[in-house]
């Protein structure tokens, strides 16, 4: 059987820090060859099967280096899918893995559906009959999960913006269609090339803005900078660990960890966080004492979000009070940890100090309350109350690759319009753009064009 070439991040859940992007299909090698540069200019097409190569991924359009990688090359049929397979091991975090995937998608692969590698393995005869049932279950399960994840990762603003773009395109399409199907109607404005160019250019610019937030935006490049603060021993590192633990599949350590503060990248319910644990500093000197309230304000100011940890089993101290002062006016979640121990903390006082800041109680030891904390972080973010997130947020690799595709097709449309190609042909690219954007928000019902046509225009005998 013959298939197109697919790619996906395939680091199995619950495994380590290195992420693998897998490509499978007849074009796996040529695609990889387009974007891979080894120090000695190897041509991947001439390499033996089951070999590993070191080098860089480079965007062939800009020659920009995207990532340092190890690449495994395996030719079919001795592969999982029986097709040619490329596996790219990258040690970057969520962001870099996404960029690698996008680069591959832009250069000709299609994003794999959930369970599609396994499906191919089966259809290509790699998996035997007895396993077919399991394959079907897997696809079902993965699809359901992927759907939930996709929905969860969909920021309200992004989906609103995409819907606005789609509506604009739909109206353009409807107008072109009405010109075609009802040419005798003189009261319908003709969709001219300049009008088409205007509309499409606007859409392209908006997509561009979104892509900028995804590739250069502060949030995505670094994750939302999140500092965990608190007195010694309240459970800051435990908190860090449990957030990492919970989100291990997407956790990676950044190259050059030998820094004075520990940074970890996690993705909490779709929100990328750069967690900063201040523990390292404390080991030599108490942070609050060492740099003083003024200085710590400075440090804290750089954070987009603070997680202030208090100890349930101890009374509030002078240091706690100074920390409360320091977080004044910032986005902060208060965590009362160690709830498994008898309460000594004065909750009334905490409530008063917290004001309208959200308070979450946890027992990190017993792994309680972390869900609630994650939920609090996500809702702070998605409700738009975190300041630094004034950019519409695009992080999902699928979304980004689709946005790139949409941009490419709408650019084709604009170029064609400049070349005076007839509107109804340009329509093909505009329709495609509309469909691709629809895939982002999970909506590609074609009837909607016809609905739009009759809603927007007055037609008929």
């Amino acid at each position: 059987m013959e298939f197109d070439t697919i790619a996906a991040i395939s680091t199995p859940l619950g495994e380590g820090a290195i992420a693998i992007v897998r490509i499978s299909g007849a074009n796996a090698l040529p695609i990889a060859n387009k974007i891979f540069r080894s120090p000695n200019q190897k041509d991947l097409l001439n390499q033996a099967s089951h070999t590993i190569h070191y080098g860089h991924l480079v965007d062939p359009k800009t020659n920009e280096v995207v990532e340092e990688v190890m690449l495994s090359l395996m030719k079919g049929p001795k592969t999982f899918t029986r097709e040619d397979v490329i596996e790219i091991n990258c040690h970057g975090g969520l962001v870099s893995v996404n960029r690698v995937l996008q680069l591959i998608l832009i250069n000709g692969a299609r994003l794999a559906e959930p369970g599609e590698f396994t499906k191919r393995a089966f259809l290509n005869g790699r998996i035997d009959l007895s396993q077919a049932e399991a394959v079907m279950d897997l696809i079902r399960a993965k699809t359901d999960k992927a759907m939930n994840v996709a929905l969860g990762q969909m920021d309200g603003r992004l989906s609103r913006l995409i819907k606005t773009l789609r509506q604009a395109l739909l109206e353009t399409l409807a107008q072109v269609e009405v010109n075609i199907d009802y040419p005798e109607y003189d009261d319908v404005e003709e969709m001219t090339l300049p009008l088409m160019i205007d509309k499409c250019t606007w859409v392209r610019d908006e997509i561009d803005k979104l892509l900028i937030t995804s590739s250069q935006g502060k949030i995505l490049r670094e994750g939302l900078s999140t500092a965990i603060i608190g007195r010694p021993n309240v459970g800051k590192s435990s908190l860090l660990n449990s957030l990492i633990q919970e989100n291990k599949a997407i956790v990676t350590d950044i190259a050059g960890t030998t820094r004075d503060i520990i940074e970890e990248y996690v993705n909490v319910r779709g929100v990328p966080l750069k967690l900063v644990d201040t523990a390292g500093i404390r080991e030599t000197e108490d942070i609050v004492e060492r740099i003083g309230v003024e200085k710590s304000r400075q440090v804290l100011k750089e954070a987009d979000l603070l997680l202030l940890v208090l100890n349930n089993a101890e009374q509030l101290t002078e240091e706690d009070l100074r920390l409360f002062e320091a977080i004044e006016g910032m986005d902060c979640i208060i965590i009362i940890n160690k709830t498994d121990l008898p309460t000594a903390i004065d909750m009334d006082e905490v409530n008063r100090l917290a004001g309208d800041k959200r308070i979450v109680t946890t027992s990190l030891l017993q792994e309680e309350g972390v869900d609630e904390l994650e939920e609090a972080i996500a809702s702070l973010f998605f409700e738009g109350s975190i300041e630094a997130s004034d950019l519409t947020y695009v992080s999902n690799a699928r979304h980004i690759s689709l946005l790139h595709l949409a941009k490419a097709t709408v650019t084709d449309a604009i170029e064609a319009a400049h070349n005076e190609v007839p509107v109804d042909m340009i329509q093909i690219d505009v329709t495609r753009t509309w469909e691709i954007l629809g895939e982002i928000v999970g909506d590609t019902v074609e009837e909607s064009l016809i609905d739009q046509l009759f809603a927007q225009f007055c037609l008929g005998k």
């Binding site: 499906k119 077919a132 075609i180 199907d181 009261d187 042909m425």
Partner: protein, 629 residues
């Protein structure tokens, strides 16, 4: 009344509307002994609504019918009063021909064709009951007790099934234009277990031309170049009648608003679902209240009549209001209304009960085609009728059935939409329904379909030979232009300058030069003359294929993917309940539609990619199981 045996046929076609005539002609031509029964022989191929054939998408269907050996194109070529090519300012994919018909001439010409056709018997009769044995149709009984036996039956009864005409608060049982309705046949179909829905459509009033003041309207002439639908037409009608354009006035809108309570649309009397693309004037005024006026086209119904069709004024308001409406339109102040507009409700089949051959799933050898399948429009009916007739005959001849794919023809799109998605309003073809519309052009209908028409015996050897020669000339010319180099000499540059193009820096292939916006085939041929002189049609073909190569290529790649999915067949008796992974909603839809291929399955709404993957694996699993033991 005692029944009597009245004859035995291979194919019986019930109805001689636009679907019925194509079905009957095709079946008979293919060699099947065919009978066509219809309520009134004077109403063969009657147009109950606008006197017009073709237009965007629909006009291409007429070309497709012609390429497959059908009749509609030839008949309208002989009987039109005006023809125009639409969308000439747009791309080639959406160009379309439209003709204003002389309605009576069209009917007469079609009747004559049927009468002359060998193997075809025509008889006036009202069919009341289908005879079915072992879930297989075996014949039918008419009102007078005549029993006709047949191997296959094609039903094309249009809007006649339990038809009801509505004007204001008047409602009575009737077929279109006060013809006899079909009530018993509707019952017979329902009793066989078919699901029927209630649809609605309508038509505007007609006025007498001699009472129209044309000075207040704008003239709409036909094209002054010869046009034809059929690839075989050689005689062109150049003596054309114009249409006229006028508009509704403020007063028209006022009258409607004042009388809305009398409209059966708003009083709740009409329950059938009407098409959104054919709103009545009351609909238009209510829904688009900010529009100051709507266009009204005055279309002559023929050369030998003064009756004029008032396009744009479709209504089911009471007749006294209709009279006021007409008088409120500039040019129609004194116009005499000859017939009132009306709405009609009727029963239609839920088309997902059909296979893509238009055979019903429930009753073998029974086919339905035309408006009975939930469509609207003469061309939509004719296209289905042709395919149903072809398949009914192929069944008799024990040959493999023919199904047009979405990438073959608009007719393919139409039938696939019907049987795969169904429809919740009368279905009309629109160019936007065709995802490969760049391939489904007016100009290439023969290249797409003539081969098939020839194979099944509807296209003559002579016509086929001509076609093969044309095809070869086009192909040769394409090869020539793609290889030939044009030098940037003074002649070339001068010619380019004359059309305001930018001069050549280097030599260029003729095809690449033709790709330039300002270039045309004749210009390029001047620089690179062809040895054989191509016909206009052939030149157009070459030009389109060169100029839009990139887009055509893109579409072809998509079709390639579609074909792969179409090749993955789904076994007919597949037990969807046994497949655990498929979502419940998808399962229900799949059980209802029973798609024949993975491609068709993936077009069913509510069936998502995961369901398709699982289905695919399940089917593969079955195959492997068979191979391994």
């Amino acid at each position: 009344m005692p029944n009597f045996e009245a004859g035995k046929f291979d194919v019986i076609v019930v109805g001689a509307g636009h679907a019925g005539v194509e079905a009957a002609l095709a079946a008979a031509k293919m060699g099947a002994k065919t009978l066509v029964l219809t309520i009134n022989l004077d109403m063969i191929a009657f147009m109950p609504c606008n006197p017009s054939i073709g237009g965007p998408a629909k006009g291409i269907v007429v070309r497709e019918i012609d390429a497959l050996g059908g009749a509609m194109g030839k008949v309208i070529d002989k009987t039109h009063i005006q023809m125009r090519m639409l969308n000439t300012g747009k791309g080639p994919a959406v160009r379309a021909l439209r003709a204003q018909a002389d309605k009576v001439l069209y009917q007469n010409e079609m009747k004559r064709l049927l009468e002359e056709q060998e193997n075809l018997t025509i008889h006036q009769a009202v069919v009341e009951e289908l005879l079915v044995e072992d879930e297989k149709v075996v014949g039918l009984i008419t009102q007078v007790g005549a029993v006709y036996r047949a191997e296959t039956v094609v039903i094309t009864t249009g809007t006649f099934l339990r038809g009801e005409i509505i004007i204001g608060d008047l409602k009575y049982s009737s077929g279109p234009n006060n013809q006899q309705p079909s009530i018993k046949l509707a019952d017979s179909i329902r009793n066989l277990g078919f699901d029927l829905v209630r649809f609605k459509t309508g038509t505007p009033p007609r006025v007498n031309s001699k009472t129209v003041d044309y000075s207040k309207t704008e003239i709409q002439p036909g094209d002054d170049v010869p046009r034809a639908f059929s690839f075989e037409t050689t005689e062109f009608i150049m003596d054309q009648l114009p249409c006229w354009l006028t508009y509704t006035s403020e007063k028209t809108h006022q009258i409607i608003n004042d009388n809305l309570h009398l409209s059966p649309m708003y009083s709740g009397m009409i329950k059938g679902t009407g098409p959104r693309y054919c709103p009545s004037i009351e609909d238009k005024v209510v829904r688009f209240s900010d529009k100051p006026r709507h266009q009204i086209f005055l279309e002559p119904e023929g050369r030998n009549t003064r009756e004029v069709y008032v396009q744009g004024l479709s209504t089911s308001l009471p007749e006294h209001v209709q009279r006021q409406l007409i008088a409120s339109v500039p040019g129609l102040e004194k116009a005499e209304m000859m017939r009132a507009g009306y709405a009609i409700e009727y029963d239609a089949m839920v088309p997902t009960q059909l296979w893509p051959t238009l055979e019903t799933k429930k009753i073998k050898n029974l086919y339905t085609a035309g408006q009975i399948n939930g469509t609207s429009g003469y061309e939509e009916a004719a296209g289905q009728g042709l395919m149903a007739g072809i398949n009914a005959a192929l069944r008799v001849l024990k040959k493999e059935e023919k199904v047009l794919s979405r990438s073959d023809a608009y007719i393919g799109v139409l039938i696939d939409d019907l049987v795969t998605k169904g429809t919740n309003e009368p279905y009309r073809l629109l160019t936007s329904r065709a995802e490969y519309r760049l391939l489904l052009r007016h100009d290439n209908a023969d290249l797409r379909l003539l081969e098939m028409g020839y194979t099944i015996g509807l296209v003559s050897q002579e016509r086929y030979d001509k076609f093969v020669a044309k095809k070869k000339r086009v192909e040769d010319e394409l090869v020539r232009l793609r290889t030939l180099f044009i030098k940037p000499n003074e002649t070339t540059q001068e010619l380019i300058r004359s059309v305001e193009g930018s001069e050549l820096k280097d030599g260029i292939r003729a095809a690449d030069l033709l790709k330039r916006t300002e270039m045309h085939y004749d210009l390029v041929a001047e620089l690179a003359p062809s040895e054989v002189e191509l016909s206009l049609e052939e030149k157009e073909q070459v030009e389109i294929q060169v100029k839009y190569e990139g887009y055509i290529e893109k579409s072809l790649q998509q079709v390639e993917k579609l074909k792969k999915m179409e090749d993955k067949k789904i076994p007919d008796q597949l037990d969807y309940d046994a497949i655990s992974g498929i979502a419940t909603e998808a399962k229900q839809k799949l059980k209802q539609v029973r798609p024949l291929s993975i491609a068709q399955a993936s077009r069913i709404s509510g069936v998502n990619p995961a369901d398709i993957s699982i289905l695919l694996i399940y089917i593969e699993q079955g195959k492997i199981a068979k191979i391994t033991g």
